[in-house]
């Protein structure tokens, strides 16, 4: 079932490629239907998921036995919810209106290809397979930005590719280092988790750990290796931005949990504090730089740096407390980190899709070009308002649940860092209020006097994303239950 979820989009990509001469609408809705297949399959998987704490619904095939490589997929609570969120976001992104430049079949094929590899990363239980999917995600995103972007799209795409490829090459070395320490040699993730191959290995363990930290940190991204993110977002088509922020960034933070926290627990415990410091720097710095951005997409992009900082703070706090006796706080922090990934995916996905609606109508991302749209476009205003308030962590919406868990959990471990990190929440509030004010309130510039409100497709897509933002915010238990089952298992409680 999981394999079908991974590869259905790949088949779908081929199908869409064959629709070269079909009408644009046919291409789009075929792609949306195909993109929804994994969502349905993953929801079915959720229904069969027991939350035992170990990997479930495992499917495996020998692949390169001589190297200890196998094809193996399966889920725990964390990867399950991330995969479902990703699948939902892919459906939303495929459906969202965008200028496909007469090459719809290719565009949708790349979107479906990206869906395949992204789900592959979350579901892979073999480190080699993980890496293959991880790296292929770059290729898909490279083409989406480079071909369908605007502005200096090719340059942004290339910077994105080279920067993140550098990150993943360092990670490859780290993977090899981890792999070489196993006996017998294996890439099998459950085995790696159980064996902790680099426990007590001194310098090697440290080097491998930092290799992962750099490689995954670029992807996340953490300050100071985040500068590929803003240009990639600004010049990408909006749905690609939504996927990039909503799904691809999570590949990094997911790796922090699955690989670094689980397979290199000893090293993570040792280096949790510096990592938490980097996370807090990302939180505060990301928020402040976002506040200083006059460009809508750059501003949202930097809030991603801020939000991924929350996630890493939660993971680091969880790691630091391992063996320290406060299991409740650490499980809370780790759960919060995962909820933050889901929440950020939905919220920032929605925000980037909304910025696409601005581009389609106004041809500009400059905040100063807009104003007073609340009267002309109540739906656009409402959707943006909900997404912005969710992003700044208002209770009743998904971001609050995540951030509350992270900060309350982290306080037990790093009270001072948690306190400093709270400043990020304050700055985020200020920057979103200012943004709402400048885009929607005050006087309507004359040039927008015939501004169109959201159409039916846009409204439906955003409503479905924001529905889950509200559902998580009001009653998160359905989401927390699977995540907690995994967090408890990881924390050994």
């Amino acid at each position: 079932m999981l394999s079908a979820a991974v590869f259905a989009p790949l088949v779908g990509a081929v199908v869409v490629l064959l629709l070269r001469r079909a009408a644009a609408a046919t291409q789009r809705w075929t792609a949306v239907g195909l993109a929804a297949v994994p969502l349905v399959l993953l929801l079915a998987a959720w229904a069969r998921f027991d939350g035992t704490g170990s990997f479930e619904l495992v499917e495996s095939l020998p692949w390169i036995p001589s190297l200890g490589v196998s094809y193996k997929v399966g889920v725990d609570g964390i990867s399950l919810v991330l995969a479902v969120m990703s699948a939902l976001l892919f459906v939303a992104s495929a459906a969202y209106p965008v200028d496909v430049k007469e090459r719809g079949h290719e565009y949708f094929a790349w979107v479906l290809f990206l869906e395949c590899v992204s789900l592959g990363v979350f579901l892979a239980l073999d480190l080699f397979l993980f890496y293959v999917f991880f790296d292929l995600s770059l290729v898909g995103m490279y083409f989406l930005i480079g071909v369908w972007g605007h502005g200096e799209a090719r340059r942004a795409a290339l910077k994105f590719f080279i920067y993140t490829l550098a990150g993943s090459l360092v990670m490859l070395l780290a993977i090899l280092g981890l792999y070489l320490a196993t006996d017998p040699l294996t890439f099998d993730m459950p085995t790696l988790i159980a064996e902790q191959p680099l426990a007590g290995s001194g310098l090697v363990g440290t080097l491998v750990f930092f290799g992962f930290a750099f490689g995954l940190g670029v992807k996340t991204p953490l300050v100071p290796v985040h500068t590929w993110l803003p240009p990639a977002h600004v010049d990408a088509p909006a749905p690609a931005s939504a996927i990039l922020a909503g799904v691809l960034l999570k590949l990094g933070t997911y790796g922090f949990i699955r690989i670094m926290l689980q397979m290199m627990t000893e090293q993570f415990v040792r280096f949790a504090f510096p990592l938490a410091v980097v996370a807090v720097v990302s939180i505060v710095y990301g928020a402040l730089v976002a506040l200083g951005q006059p460009n809508l997409k750059r501003r949202i992009a930097y809030t991603s740096v801020n939000h991924m900082g929350y996630t890493i703070l939660g993971i680091a706090a969880a790691a630091a407390a391992i063996g320290a006796g406060d299991e409740r706080a650490q499980a809370l922090a780790l759960t919060g980190a995962t909820v933050e990934m889901v929440a950020h995916g939905l919220i920032t996905g929605a925000l980037f899709l909304l910025s696409g609606s601005f581009w389609q109508r106004g041809g500009s991302y400059e905040i100063a070009d807009y104003g007073g749209l609340a009267g002309r476009a109540p739906l656009l205003t409402g959707a943006f308002l909900v997404a912005a308030f969710a992003s700044l962590g208002l209770p009743g919406l998904a971001g609050f649940v995540a951030e509350f868990q992270i900060f309350v959990g982290a306080f037990a471990v790093y009270p001072v860092l948690a306190g400093i990190g709270l400043l990020g929440i304050l700055v985020t509030a200020a920057l979103f209020l200012q943004l709402l004010q400048r885009l929607f309130l005050g006087d309507l510039p004359r040039r927008w006097s015939s501004w169109r409100d959201l159409d039916r497709v846009e409204t439906t897509v955003l409503a479905s994303l924001l529905f889950f933002v509200v559902a998580i915010g009001v009653y998160p238990r359905w989401l927390l239950t699977p995540i907690e089952s995994a967090a408890r298992a990881i924390m050994g409680t």
Binding site: R155, G205, Y285, G292, G375
Partner: protein, 668 residues
Amino acid sequence: MSALAAVALPLLAGPALWAVGARRARRQVGGAAAAALAATLLLAVVAAVDASTWALEWGAGLRLTLSAVGVAGPVAVLVAAVGATVVAYASVHEDDPGLARLLGLLVAFVGVMQLLVLAADLLTLLIAWELSAALSWALIGSNWANGGDVSRAAHAFNVTRAGSLGLVLAAGAAFAGSGSLEYTALDGLDAGLLAVVAGGLLVAAASKSAQVPFSPWLYSAMAGPTPVSALLHSATMVAAGAYALVRLGEPLSAVGWFGPTVVAVGLTTAVAGGVLALTESHGKRILAASTSAQYGLMFVAVGVGASAAAAAHLVAHGLFKSLLFLAVGVGIHATGTADVRSWRLRRRLPRVAAAAGIGSLALAAVPPLGAAWTKEQITAAALAAGPFVGGLALFAGLLSAAYAARLYVLSFGGPPRTGAAPPAGRVPTVEIGAVAVLAAGSVALGALWLPGGRGVVEALTGTRVAHGAAWEFVVSLALVATGLVWGRALATDTERSAGGLPAWMRRVTADWYRIPTASRRLVADPALALAAGLARFDDVVIDAPARSLATIGVRAANVLPRFDDAVVDGAVRGAVRLGRALSRLLGWWVERGVDGVVAALAAATGRIGDLSRLGDDRGVDRTVEGIARSVGVAGRRSRALQSGLAHRYYVIAVVGLAALFVAAAAGR
């Protein structure tokens, strides 16, 4: 269950009203809104009588709990009662475009406040706390097309949100110490963590209740329509700070500095706000300054351990302050100005003036009104705590009487002898009814003076109310009388620009003692400048290593081939033998594994080279293009390397993994 219903009904009814109300007649929307809150009032009463509780499990360690036990019950009733009255008033007082939105938000706001009042754990409290800030943002910015109003709404939100971070810290400390967020868990907390809870709660409460130095946000909140002010200042939002202290003050009194600090904040605000109220001539601003001052008195009460007196005063204040706001709103509507120096409306609006008179006497704390009883309890408790605290509390009482008298005489007093008789204005019955209901409430609260009053308050709050000495009461009343006379004199003294303190004092107090200017210069402007600076820094400096690496990469790509031929090739020939041996030693898997990696890399980088050439026709950055092309060259070279030149292959294999193996050797 009734506790849940008292919260859920307005929370659901509010958005529904907004959604369906826009196309309905004023009477229907207003009726529905008032009915929803009347039902909420009923539910609140039931919840208070039943001492209803309710809980919802969110996840491990996260449990939302509601409880109408103790002081929560009566305050919930007050919130619903004031809310219903204010909403009824709003439904006839406010202009129609946006009326459904305004009423919907007001109803939802009452629901959020019910949640806050009935909360029995820090998570629920924080949820309500932040939601009330967001809703007040929307309410204050009701007139969203006016950029100035919206900025003031943002000011209010940002200040109160800064304070609410204190609650997050408090929750973190409580959870770290007890693994629980329930109020009851605070009792067992160790001293250090309890101090964090106390500090966090104090900051949160002070910001919400507009205490110094957070007070000016309440002036910004004046941008909202009158009913919004009436609700914000009396039973919701601002009340939340003092209420939270009342609710949680007991366990926190174990923290040594907590009580004295709360007292200091409260006294400072009570005196500063009182003086400010005497110098203002904008009707709503006089009331806003007095709100800060009155909550200051409640802070004093909590700080000296008289939570019951604070709770009682909170209820009394809720009634008379909403009354005064609504009355002033009628006056603004009738005169077209908020400057009360030109009002003197008693002849034009006799019934409203009568109600405002009752509200003013309550604000001045004149017996037998209930507000006088509650204020005297606070004064008595303050005097019991020491002469300095008691003296300042008495002085704050004198100020209250003075600004109450001055406000009343200026706004609703009889016309000056020289004034021409103005035409009579017609005030809608619902507005008259609303102020009448609130005035009746203020009068009814006078029952507190009856023999059983003290017992009722003690039973409801679960804490003792101190007995003050008779001479203290006499002194306090004398000061109130002095205040009344002084305030009336200030109002009628035409020499001093028709009322108010001397000009130099007005200069000192102007704009909340210039706190907004100071906070803008010290906090907001530097933060914005820092943000702008960091944004540039990020583009220019943080991105620089990546850019310079790219440049170095380009240069190196041009130099390396020569270097490779001349130096490396020779130098590594020896190493090759070592490498070969090492490789053999480590088995055939390295060969296969690295082979695959090298091939994949070569293919990938070659692809980039090709791609960048395709895209180089215009505008592609030369640096990035250069690196891609040279990597492409390198890619093709490395492909060539694999075709037969085995020794080079081993060089790459060794160089690629040497670091790891050395490290492995060192580490094992």
